[in-house]
Assembly symmetry: C2
């Protein structure tokens, strides 16, 4: 009866729901947020009527789809940065990995970018984690920025626009651009220049897959 088991019936329901969410993410990734519900259910390969067993409106589905995508990525970041002590390094790791995500997982990236700024102030997904990391770094004296919220604004904006840049200019080296911006941000937040450079050159761990498609 737990969330995991639920045995069969629950699993079937979850599968249908996941198929709908994944279809929605596909459409979002293509910028198509005006698709008909019928199109969504056909893409998800479920019956039209099934839609209303799970969501009462298209907006509700899209919202769930975005939350799903972000929670997956956020959880993956938490997993990877779990053992890092230096808060500045945690921030840098998260930023650099998120920057690399735009090319490695274009669908997830576009889900994020299409919802864009709304996510920056959301209480779910990446924003609260980023705020948490920045706050930690300030409290630990690693960042000297006075206002964590403004530091977050700069970092979030850079992350979003960087994603846009990487999609628009396929010729640009994503890792190089991401690391350069991460370094700039660290300096802007008060980390000494040489140290910022060193942190942003450390090797990065692999991130596990995050989209519902990546079973």
């Amino acid at each position: 009866m737990a969330a995991i088991a639920g045995s069969r019936l629950d699993r079937r329901k979850a599968r249908t729901r996941a198929a709908l969410i994944h279809a929605a993410q596909t459409f979002i990734a293509e910028g198509k947020t005006n698709v008909a519900i019928l199109d969504i259910t056909q893409t998800a390969d479920v019956g039209m009527g099934s839609f209303y067993n799970h969501f009462s409106s298209k907006d509700e589905l899209f919202q769930a789809a975005v939350e799903d995508a972000l929670d997956r990525h956020g959880a993956a970041l938490d997993e990877v940065t779990h053992g890092i002590d230096d808060p500045a390094d945690v921030f840098a790791h998260s930023f650099r990995l998120t920057g690399r995500l735009h090319r490695r997982h274009p669908q997830l990236s576009k889900v994020i970018l299409n919802n864009g700024l709304g996510l920056a102030t959301s209480e779910h997904g990446l924003a609260p984690r980023a705020r948490r990391d920045i706050q930690s770094a300030i409290q630990a004296g690693r960042f000297t920025a006075g206002d964590a919220e403004l530091a977050f604004v700069i970092a979030a904006g850079a992350a979003l626009c960087l994603g846009q840049l990487l999609h628009t200019r396929p010729d640009r080296d994503d890792a190089e651009a991401t690391d350069q911006i991460a370094e700039d941000l660290l300096r802007a937040f008060g980390v000494p220049a040489d140290e910022a450079r060193q942190i942003c050159r450390r090797p990065l761990p692999e991130l596990r897959c995050h989209l519902s498609s990546d079973r």
Copy 2:
């Protein structure tokens, strides 16, 4: 026959077109991009049939509405910064005035934010002006940033997320937050700290109105 005159008939046509664009901007500002064409024409106080005399689709109208809004703001910025010599100061002026716009002209601000990241890479509107200013500052040796494009990414992202923050947290002082971020950006781009602070405390000129509503 010039763009200005066109005498009467052209002016009438332009008025109808402007009414449609303004109506579209109103809806965009409310986050309503799914409104029916009939709603738009009613808001614009023109006949339903008139719509197709000017635009062949809703998307076309919305695109025109966004371009209109941005061009107005960009032109206003150019006007105000025309006489400033120091490129870093031009950048700071533009950024600080754009930050203040979010509260002073919420409608225009929301038009920008709703289109969000797409604008950052657009060839029209604010993006090319910002790139131009940053490039000038780098060439003049005022910014030491190596890559103008990455500097632009950080600045554009900060401007957008700042707008989102100011709409989400009405309690925050918009001028203070904007100037603080402008100062952070100048430092990130290589302007000495004390100079950055000084530049971002200079008094600002008034910006003329920019929306088609503000005749």
